[in-house]
Amino acid sequence: MKGPVTVVVGTDGSAAAACAMRWSADLVQATGGEVVAVHALGLLSHMPTNGSPANGEGDRRAAAPHTAAEHRTQIEAQLHRWCVPLQASGVAHRCFVSDGSPVLALLQAATDAAADLIVVGRRGSGGFPGLLLGSTSHELTAHAHLPVVVVPGPVEPPAR
């Protein structure tokens, strides 16, 4: 890939998303361009026992907001912290919150930004391996009209 690139990267505050952000930042440092980080608010995201971010931060859940509007405000405030890997890299970037499923939010963001590729982290917790349904990365590859990069998350120690 030559010249500046625009990368849309999904974030949910998880370690896997941070890996995807660092990978995106490394690419844009080499090529120039911009990283656009997107967090999608789902139907359940403000529910105290089901909320994002996917890493299940206890402090956030303890202070779960009561309404969807309050949740949106809270997530917008947290997004700055989730985007620390981008800030540390020094690359041009934007971060914003979108409504909807992660797949649709990323596709829409890619269209709006005229992106060159979409980057997501792989957590492997969604859906049923090997079937069409169930993971953001899998759904993206089925629907996207631009390249999709799936970045492995942190290596976890094998279960004993």
Binding site: L41, G42, L43, L44, S45, H46, M47, T49, N50, S52, A54, T67, A68, A69, R72, S98, D99, G100, S101, P102, V103, L104, A105, Q108, S125, G126, G127, F128, L131, L132, L133, G134, T136, E139, H143
Partner: protein, 338 residues
């Protein structure tokens, strides 16, 4: 008489503890019948599964096959909101077939209107994607069947969330008029007033996004200024309602300020748009506070039957009037440009 299509005993769609879209929603919704005191006016009809041919009018066959395989393989999380288990497939097929059963019963003359109380809900499901608790788009399957029979269908969606799946499925279908009022911004992020239909069906999608806190008078304003004029031009043969009750002020997933009395007013207003008796079908979508669901369903069904059950007064004074005016203007501008 009111046709009620439901089968809570056949509900095997288990979403897990803590998920708001629970089997307990069905007895809560059906409890509205007795709460409203209209049991004697109810004709109960059993649902049947939607056929593959019926599903294919609204969904891609590859998606239907994938969903079936996913459920039979054990299911799991489709996205952070949407789950399926092995029993979800048969339950979803019944939910998709139930609105068709309702139209068949009304066509036989079994009632003046129908209420479909099934789950999972459907209006977020697109032709090839499950999302927002929805697996199959129940209203869309029924509407597509009616359209295939040469009829024109109005879909009124008063669920608090925009019905992105229904809108997308009928984006280029001139024989379906889709009208949605919904909280904005909120999941799924679609439903701007500027979304008015595809090149094959311009002006057949009408969206009225309203802000958090909007009250019943705001939605009635939307109905008077946007819905009614559009329906008079469209002249539907059927009125299907994506009847979500998560706009109630106690609902945990959204922030509108509606009451059971407001749903009575909305139901009466929509039922009056039908071309005659036996052409209105209310299909349950969202609604996650069980007591609010019971009272709101009861109030809506009583209104459709022409009786009064208003356990909560209608609400008024909330924000959103200017949003309705802006939506009306957007629709008028869109029409003028065509």
């Amino acid at each position: 008489m009111l046709v009620v299509v439901s089968a809570p005993d056949l509900d095997d769609h288990r979403t897990g503890a803590g998920h708001p879209e629970q089997p307990a929603r069905m007895p809560a919704a059906l409890g509205g019948i007795d709460a409203a005191g209209v049991r004697d006016a109810v004709v109960t009809v059993a649902p049947r599964p939607a056929t593959e041919a019926e599903l294919a009018r609204a969904h891609r066959s590859t998606y239907v096959d994938a969903l079936r395989s996913f459920c039979h393989a054990g299911g799991g999380a489709i996205d952070p909101d949407t789950v399926a288990v092995p029993g979800s497939w048969d339950t979803a097929l019944l939910a998709a077939g139930a609105p068709i059963v309702a139209t068949e019963a009304l066509r036989r003359g079994d009632g003046d209107a129908a209420f479909v109380a099934m789950r999972p809900p459907g209006h977020h499901a697109t032709e090839d994607q499950a999302m927002g608790f929805c697996l199959i788009n129940n209203v869309a399957v029924a509407a597509a069947s009616l359209v295939a029979g040469g009829e024109r269908v109005l879909i009124v969606d008063w669920d608090v969330h925009h019905g992105n799946g229904t809108q997308a499925i009928f984006w280029n279908e001139p024989n379906v008029l889709y009208v949605s009022t919904h909280q904005w911004p909120l999941f799924p992020g679609t439903g701007r007033a500027t979304e008015t239909g595809g090149p094959g069906a311009p002006g057949t999608t009408l969206n009225v996004p309203v802000p958090p806190g909007a009250t019943g008078d705001v939605l009635l304003q939307a109905y008077d200024e946007v819905l009614v004029p559009a329906v008079e031009r469209f002249a539907p043969d059927w009125v299907l309602v994506s009847a979500g009750f998560d706009g109630h002020r106690r609902d945990p997933l959204a922030d509108l300020s509606l009451t059971a009395g407001d749903f009575a007013d909305l139901a009466a207003r929509v039922h009056a748009l039908a071309p005659g008796p036996g052409r209105t079908v209310l299909v349950l979508e969202g609604g996650y506070d069980e007591e609010a669901l019971r009272l709101s369903v009861g109030a809506s069904l009583a209104a459709v039957l022409g009786t009064s059950f208003r356990p909560e007064q209608a609400s008024s004074g909330g924000p959103g009037s200017s949003a309705v005016t802006a939506a009306r203007q957007a629709h008028e501008d869109s029409a003028a440009a065509r």
